[in-house]
């Protein structure tokens, strides 16, 4: 709360004063999610609310619409959310409902789950108009088509009768935006509207929101964890952490001369496209006041002389769906993919959703059966050997999944999780030896010894990902496949896990296949990058080469879509 005394000036559309929200966890304990924050949303501008998970940013936005679950949330009585001279906190629910959708509307993170799948897009749009504008029949339909055209849906006359499942993710998010702006709201709250989307789609949606904001003269409250996105869109920035505001002010000030250490840390611990320090700075470095410890650049790249550990040739994977009584339709998820993985290096695998990059990883692990191709490891083809033979090789290739909350069995203690693979593969002679090794690995991934006796739910996302890494390490693999392994993590935690992966590679000479949609992260960690689209390789080259001189138009388009952050502040931030 460094700058509460200095709220954003100007004619405010909404001003939030001393907002306190807590949640009842059980009869006695309460958790204070928002600890007395104050900020303004000026008219005709975009305010970005930035923070990591648990910072209270989403809770704040839900409170503005009165959407917090009434049974366990408590908004402090002294809190004020003033809109149009009225305090939304004390407004009766009926009045609030009139404001929702009409004056203040909201778009959510997941367009796939926010639209009702059994109603057509038009029906859902018309419902909003019917409820708030009193429009009916033909007028509502005409207006719906207009709005759909405004958000850039092609052929709106036809698409209005489509069901959500018939639209792509980007189009669904456009429909959500159309619903949000249909009644010409004065304030649009966008809660992580682009997080679930591919970079190219993200860019389109960001452009659309920016464009609509200008054209409609409305205000946007943009909630995100991604500072690069904020740099592109925001006029004002509010940085939150643990329910408090760390810093707020015009975007220029926050990006160019951040005052708060946390803001500074947040700006720097995210991998950047033009730099590659040997270690990424983490939030703790800044909070302790030491600053970044390793500033020298790491050299990346693959030489012809590097020994090859895995040679993949013409890998293909098809999925079949039934069609008619006897027919089968083939869907080629991976087509004719060949690459060589050098020892001790990282191969980055980038592509948009549906490009087949995850399927490549799962097929190499034989979690999916490959349709064609071979993967030569120590002179043997991993894909064609019998399951029994493969068992011996299974531990040599391991995978770290995307979601650390789902990939650990919730009913096992960490000790059980770590000891199990050693038991299965007969690593270590006795229970005692295995236990000792588990303790060693816990230490290696930076977790306390007590963790051995705990259950996964007692750890945060980053810690769980470390446990997953430790589990892989118990088997001493040669190749580690990281399937979006840091995508679900907060920026600061992401840096820690990336550093850990790098340390392990340096120590054990592991080879990584690093699958991600995040181009900045891939650039940071990879020696070589392979771009995939619709199941085929588009381009493959050393990472510096591919980011500097992309050859294919698809790659160029992909790289151009990466949010560039605060353009004006770039040089200063890199000092």
């Amino acid at each position: 709360m460094t700058s509460v005394a200095n709220p954003i000036s100007g004619s405010a559309l909404v001003s939030i004063r001393d907002l306190r929200i807590s949640f009842r966890l059980d009869r006695k304990t309460r958790f204070e999610a928002v600890k007395g924050i104050s900020f303004d949303i000026p008219q005709n501008s975009t305010v970005a609310l930035v923070g990591e998970s648990g910072s209270g940013k989403s809770v704040t936005s839900l409170a503005m619409l009165g959407l917090l679950p009434p049974e366990n949330s408590i908004i402090d009585r002294a809190s004020q959310i003033v809109y149009g001279g009225r305090n939304l906190v004390s407004l009766p629910i009926g009045e609030l409902r009139k404001l929702r959708g009409a004056d203040i509307s909201m778009i959510f993170q997941e367009p796939m789950t926010s639209l009702n799948p059994v109603f057509s897009v038009g029906w859902q749009l018309e419902e909003v108009l019917r409820l708030h504008m009193g429009m009916t029949g033909r007028a509502a339909r005409k207006r719906s088509i207009e709005v759909l055209r405004e958000v850039g849906i092609p052929e709106p006359e036809r698409r209005i009768d489509a069901y959500p499942s018939q639209l792509s993710g980007g189009q669904q998010q456009r429909v959500m935006i159309a619903m949000a702006i249909a009644c010409e709201p004065k304030l649009l709250i966008a809660d992580e509207p682009t997080t679930a989307l591919d970079v190219t789609i993200q860019k389109q949606i960001l452009d659309l929101i920016a464009d609509l904001q200008k054209r409609r003269q409305m205000s946007v409250l943009f909630i995100t964890h991604d500072l690069a996105v904020v740099g592109e869109i925001a006029d004002y920035v509010v940085v939150m952490r643990n329910g408090e505001i760390r810093e707020q002010g015009p975007a220029k000030a926050v990006f160019e001369t951040p005052q708060d250490t946390y803001t500074k840390a947040l700006l720097r611990c995210r991998p950047q496209l033009d730099r590659r320090p040997t270690r990424l700075p983490v939030i703790d470095d800044y909070m302790r006041g030491t600053g970044p410890t390793h500033t020298e650049e790491r050299r990346r790249g693959v030489r012809m002389s590097d020994p090859i550990v895995l040679d993949v040739k013409n890998l293909g994977k098809s999925f079949y769906s039934r069609e008619g009584l006897f027919g089968k339709r083939e869907f080629k998820a991976v087509k004719d993919v060949s690459f060589k993985l050098p020892k001790g290096k990282t191969l980055g695998l980038v592509g948009e959703s549906g490009s087949g990059k995850t399927t490549v990883g799962l097929t190499l692990m034989r979690l999916h059966e490959a349709t064609t191709g071979e993967a030569i490891f120590e002179g043997r083809d991993l894909l064609s050997m019998s399951p029994k033979e493969f068992m011996a090789y299974k531990r040599r290739i391991q995978i770290i999944f995307q979601n650390p909350y789902a990939s650990l069995n919730p009913r096992f203690t960490i000790g059980q999780i770590l000891v199990e693979p050693m038991q299965i593969h007969g690593i270590g002679d006795s229970t005692q030896a295995r236990t000792d090794m588990a303790f060693e690995l816990l230490d290696k991934v930076g977790l306390a010894e007590v963790s051995f006796y705990k259950y996964p739910h007692e750890f945060s996302g980053g810690q769980r990902q470390r446990i997953a890494i430790a589990r892989c390490l118990t088997m001493k693999p040669d190749i580690l496949i990281c399937d979006e392994s840091v995508s679900a993590l907060d920026v600061s935690v992401q840096a820690q896990v990336l550093n850990l992966l790098q340390d392990l590679q340096d120590e054990f000479g592991l080879s990584y296949i690093f699958i991600s949609h995040d181009l900045a992260v891939v650039k940071y960690i990879s020696d070589e990058v392979m771009v995939m689209n619709e199941g085929s390789i588009v381009e493959m080259a050393n990472s510096d080469e591919i980011y500097r001189h992309p050859k294919m138009p698809y790659t160029r388009n992909l790289l151009a879509s990466i949010p560039k952050g605060w353009q004006g502040g770039r040089e200063r931030a890199n000092d």
Binding site: L25, Q398, S407, P421, I424, H457
Partner: protein
């Protein structure tokens, strides 16, 4: 708790280390804590446990082992009504033993008996003929039943036999009590003790049948859901065919195949016919869980199919099994009653709440309500408590709350 046990069985890590550590609560411990804060759930749990305790004590022969002794007069009324109740004398009129018939029927009825007059008439008629022909004589020897004004009793000969035997064995050394704590049945047995003894059968049948049904359902569902493809098709066909047969017909069919009466037969009937619901549920759970990342991760580290199914997935769906089992227990306690009513229930020499209720339907006409109330109340109390406990259990095990503590 369960996972610890599993770990020990697996030979996994009875870990001893010098590091001082606080044992972290597993999900079961957390669920128990949530359950403990649920007042209704805890009260229900206490009631259920009390019933189970009663059942165990009774099975061990520590209480109600003498339920079979005819301690009271026939249809002895509950003590709190007093022995003046008309029932006693009425009961005497039709009870076996010569001395009972001589007792003149008195009607000081406070309760209005709708068919009291009719019975009085019948009694009067019987009394007239009583000089030449004692009413206590078996009907088979006393001309046509119509003449006697009594309904035809096909088991009369058997009953007479039993009566003769009991009359012989019954040494009239002890005084028969006029009243019993909660009344007596037709033979003067203590209804309260009978109810306690009956709980043994009813609860055992309920629990055992529920365990069998959930076991079958879980194994079938796990195999079908986990392996999918033709295995799943096979089980689904089996399930579809199975569930297309009317339920009662199925029960009768199984009963006919098993060919004998007994507690185990009822358990088998209920268990073999009741697995379908759990099957669908477990199949869905396994379908859902086998695609989860933690199962893929187990595959990646080389865990076998059986290991993934039962060591990895099962503990994560075991709460569903538990809830299913308690729902089944409630249902099967009731089903036992229905079976007993239909005549597929427990043998004559065994008492259960079902057989008590079956007896009670005849007694009710005579105004002897206590057996019905005793068995009915016991069952209603247990079933309600069990249902409420099941609800509380489901809430406590609700995985939606998972993760909040750690996040």
């Amino acid at each position: 708790m369960a996972t610890h046990a599993a770990a020990l069985r697996e030979g996994r890590a009875p870990i001893v280390r010098e590091v001082p550590h606080t044992v972290s609560p597993g999900l079961w411990t957390l669920a128990w804590r949530r359950l403990r804060s649920d007042r209704v759930g805890m009260v229900s749990l206490v009631i259920v446990v009390a019933f189970l305790l009663m059942m165990i004590l009774s099975a061990a022969g520590l209480i109600a082992s003498d339920w079979n002794r005819e301690v009271g007069v026939n249809y002895a009324p509950p003590s709190f009504l007093g022995s003046e109740a008309p029932a006693a004398s009425q009961a005497a009129a039709i009870a076996p033993g010569g001395e009972a018939t001589s007792a003149a029927p008195e009607y000081k009825s406070k309760i209005v008996d709708p068919i009291g007059d009719v019975i009085a008439e019948l009694k009067a008629g019987k009394g007239e003929r009583g000089e030449s022909q004692p009413a206590a004589a078996p009907p088979a020897t006393s001309g046509t039943p119509a003449e006697q004004g009594e309904s035809v009793d096909p088991l009369a000969a058997v009953m007479a036999d039993i009566r003769a035997k009991t009359a012989q064995s019954q040494v009239h050394t002890e005084e028969r009590k006029a009243t019993l704590p909660f009344g007596g049945d037709k033979w003067g047995r203590d209804v309260l003790k009978k109810t306690i003894k009956g709980s043994e059968t009813s609860i055992f049948v309920g629990l055992a049948a529920a365990a069998l049904a959930t076991f079958l359902g879980t194994v079938f569902g796990a195999v079908a859901g986990y392996f999918g493809k033709w295995v799943d098709d096979f089980f689904n066909w089996f399930y579809s065919v199975f569930s297309s047969i009317p339920y009662l017909l199925l029960i009768l069919a199984v009963a006919a195949v098993l060919q004998q009466k007994g507690i185990m037969t009822i358990v088998l009937i209920l268990g073999l016919t009741g697995w379908a619901g759990t099957f669908r549920l477990m199949r869905a759970e396994y379908l859902k869980h086998k695609a989860r990342e933690y199962v893929q991760a187990a595959d990646a580290i080389g865990a076998s199919n059986a290991r993934r199914m039962f060591v990895h997935i099962f503990p994560n769906v075991s709460h569903v099994v538990l809830v299913q089992m308690s729902i089944y227990t409630v249902g099967f306690i009731k089903a036992e009653v229905i079976l007993s009513f239909l005549g597929f229930g427990v043998p004559v020499d065994v008492v259960s709440w079902g057989s008590m209720l079956n007896e009670a339907q005849n007694e009710l006409i005579l105004g002897k309500w206590w057996q019905l109330v005793a068995a009915g109340t016991a069952m209603a109390l247990l079933v309600t408590a069990f249902s409420l406990f099941t609800d509380a259990l489901r809430d406590a095990l609700d995985p939606k709350l998972k993760g909040r503590a750690g996040a």
